[in-house]
Assembly symmetry: C2
Homo-oligomer: 206 residues x 2
């Protein structure tokens, strides 16, 4: 049998994406061949070429599958003003992302691939720009949070909301990178939340 129903086809597509994520993770993006992915997915390269133009397109599919939902959640948790104070809100939002990394295998693997199993050249260099754009949008949300904190007189210092947001953003970028690299968890993964708490306490009045 060859021809599958539409649902079956969509299923193979997803199998290919999952397989690619697994192989990318263990072999790195550049070193994995379409044959590797095909074997892992129990299909032939024919199937892959049917669903995707090339390896780069699979990479983008993996990214979208995980990143698009994440951005939405990040947006929500930083924009919605609940009944928490702004600083707690920021803290919870950061912690929530760490929780996601811990709980969501696909997200964790995707992050790991993006950060340390991929070379940003040629086709992939545009991803860098996307990452920077992404950062800008997160930064904007943080600025809003700190502005509200300032308005409510919650801040321990006179730094501008922008400066605080930039500092938090860089802190969190560093944390994510270290989180990924710290495979055994001893240095960063296990104490990520404590680090976030300290970071936020530094800007809390009193």
């Amino acid at each position: 049998m060859v021809r599958k129903s539409k649902e079956d086809a969509e299923l193979t597509r997803k199998r290919i994406i999952t397989a690619a994520r697994e192989v990318f993770l263990s072999r790195g993006v550049s070193r994995t061949t379409l044959e590797h992915i095909a074997t892992q997915a129990n299909v032939t390269r024919g199937a892959i070429y049917w669903h995707f133009k090339n390896k780069t397109e699979i990479f983008h599919a993996i990214r979208e599958q995980v990143l698009l939902p994440l951005i939405d959640r990040m947006d929500d948790s930083l924009t919605l003003d609940g009944n928490e104070d702004p600083l707690t809100q920021i803290e919870k939002s950061l912690c929530q992302t760490i929780d996601e990394l811990n709980d969501n295998i696909e997200m964790r693997e995707t992050y790991e691939i993006i950060m340390i199993k991929c070379e940003y050249v040629e086709d992939f260099s545009e991803v860098l720009q996307q990452i920077l754009d992404n950062c800008s949008s997160i930064l904007d949300k943080l600025v809003l949070g700190y502005q509200r904190a300032q308005a409510q007189n919650l801040l321990s210092c006179t730094l501008s909301p922008l400066a605080l947001a930039q500092d938090t953003h860089l802190f969190f970028s560093g944390l994510l990178h270290m989180w990924v690299k710290d495979a055994d968890g001893s240095r960063f993964r296990n104490q990520a939340k404590t680090l976030i708490q300290s970071h936020m306490n530094l800007r809390r009045k009193h």
Copy 2:
């Protein structure tokens, strides 16, 4: 003519390293072949195989050429207690690294390769451990600085020196990553020092 003097041979070795750095930067480590490097260095693969076992060894040579001196300088500027106060000392040390990245082409290119043009799998996964070890040593130096700052009652908050050092370390890691990704300089490179200043001001009393 084929056989060169020892000095000439050492010179070709360096030419190969420089060529490799340049090609790694533009094509990524995985996608560059030894032929690429040879062409760039105006030698044949024979010369490369004479001086290095394989591509991985060239990568390590590039890393050592830049990283070993850096670690020494970092050690010095954080360990030596000059006549500055500890917080200023930390700030200057961080700024100095940024200056180095701006001024030293080899260092800048090497950092870029290590951070976004290299996949940490197989032979390269051990580099991750080295990076983490490196971080530990920098963290230790920062802790010492903050301990002295605390002893001199310079700190604005009650956070432990360790917590402050971890926060600074993560901030600086994030900054370096963004510095590298921000090729056009608009978002991070041009204001790196301001960001460092803000970061340190956050912990200064007064």
